[in-house]
Symmetry: C2
Subunit: 212 residues, 2 copies
DNA sequence: ACAGTGAATATTTCATTGATCGTTCAGGAA
DNA sequence: TTCCTGAACGATCAATGAAATATTCACTGT
């Protein structure tokens, strides 16, 4: 064994994550055994438990890594210069919808992992929602800073409500068998309702202002 | 046997529904056999199939009957005199939330039936949504008639969007473990967002108008 | 003809069991 | 001591087949 250059703890952790990611995406979470992951890392199964409390935590680490990239992307959209708050919100929600739809649609492995984590680690979904809420608040802060149309609302609360209202688009295939184009059309409509409200006499004004 | 007064076909159908309803609510859908229902009606199991295509159709008939009562109740709320459109929409959505929450929360039998029907008869949920959409449209028609705040929108489309945005409150326990009070608070917030929009400078005006 | 039967059939459900796999831990190498 | 191993343990899963039950249909009484 090449113990000449012992890897740091973090490096080993990463190695495990890489091996597991590879197995999970090829054969699925359920069909991957800890022994296989350990073998890929040239270590014993028992040793994995010095780096992760369990199999699920490896999956969670993979998901977290992936999700944090996504979050950064979303943050960029939320703060994009040269776009109105309304447009940024639009981009944010659509990006979210498209990403999850494509990810879960084409890749049954990803769907399996999402389901397992959602079922065994309910807190994880809450953590994701909280992160996105933070971005929504940042978006609104930025809008306020720029003097855009947003009023002095309780932003944290408003972010929660936006999430409630767009829940349908956050787990597209969990319960609706709609196609992406149909979901997009619906999200467009809901967003319109959210920004303009049911009393859209002022809508034109707001639209014009945000388009400016 | 008392063939002196043969029951009409519809009467027999009703008898079957009553017997099944009783069994289902006492022992659950899964634990009830066709033979038992037939026995309760003093007939052979085979004879049930002259009135219903199958067991699931009996459950569907029960659910339909129950749901149609509910729909009538909702319609009354949607057209209630002396209330603003906003209030009527509020009452409608809250009644819906409370009914399903209470029904599914306290009664595991009802939950079981709802799940079986939702799973085996996906069209049923669509039919329910379409009915409620009709009521939403009636609500908006009435608002227009009364000269309330609603604008000349595509009402059918708007109804769809309202449903999308309140999806979370229509199947409360399917995926959120929130308590009824929390759900109510959230629904209140979403409704506020829907009616006032994200640009609520005119909100006060609309509120005052609708409260008048 | 027709309403209804109930045994026959086809399907589903359920418990049993054997194997697999996640996890632990007593111990060995460095 | 510190790091790691791999066999042992117990929970979980899949395969089996047997029992239960939904559904059908040839037949009976009226």
């Amino acid at each position: 064994m090449d113990k000449a250059f012992p890897m740091s703890k973090d490096a080993v952790r990463d190695r495990i994550i890489q091996a597991a990611k590879c197995r999970f995406s090829h054969f699925g979470y359920g069909k991957t055994t800890m022994a296989e992951v350990a073998g890929d890392c040239s270590m014993s199964p028992g040793n994995l438990y010095r780096f992760f409390p369990g199999k699920l935590d490896i999956a969670e680490a993979i998901a977290t890594e992936d999700y944090e990239n996504h979050l950064n992307h979303l943050r960029k959209l939320a703060l994009a210069p040269g776009k109105s708050a309304r447009e940024r919100l639009h981009d944010l929600l659509f990006e979210e919808l498209r990403r999850t739809y494509n990810k879960l649609e084409k890749d049954p492995r990803a769907l399996e992992m999402a389901q397992v984590i959602a079922h065994q680690r309910p807190q994880f979904a809450n953590w994701m929602l909280a992160n996105e809420r933070k971005i929504l608040v940042e978006l609104m802060d930025e809008a306020e800073r720029r003097g855009e149309f947003l009023p002095p609302l309780d932003k944290e609360l408003t972010a929660e409500m936006i999430q409630s209202a767009t829940m349908k688009f956050r787990y597209p295939q969990l319960w609706s068998k709609l196609t992406l184009p149909k979901l997009e059309r619906e999200l467009e409509g809901v967003l319109k309702l959210l920004t303009d409200g049911l009393c859209p006499r002022r809508a034109q004004a707001a639209q014009q202002q945000s388009a400016a």
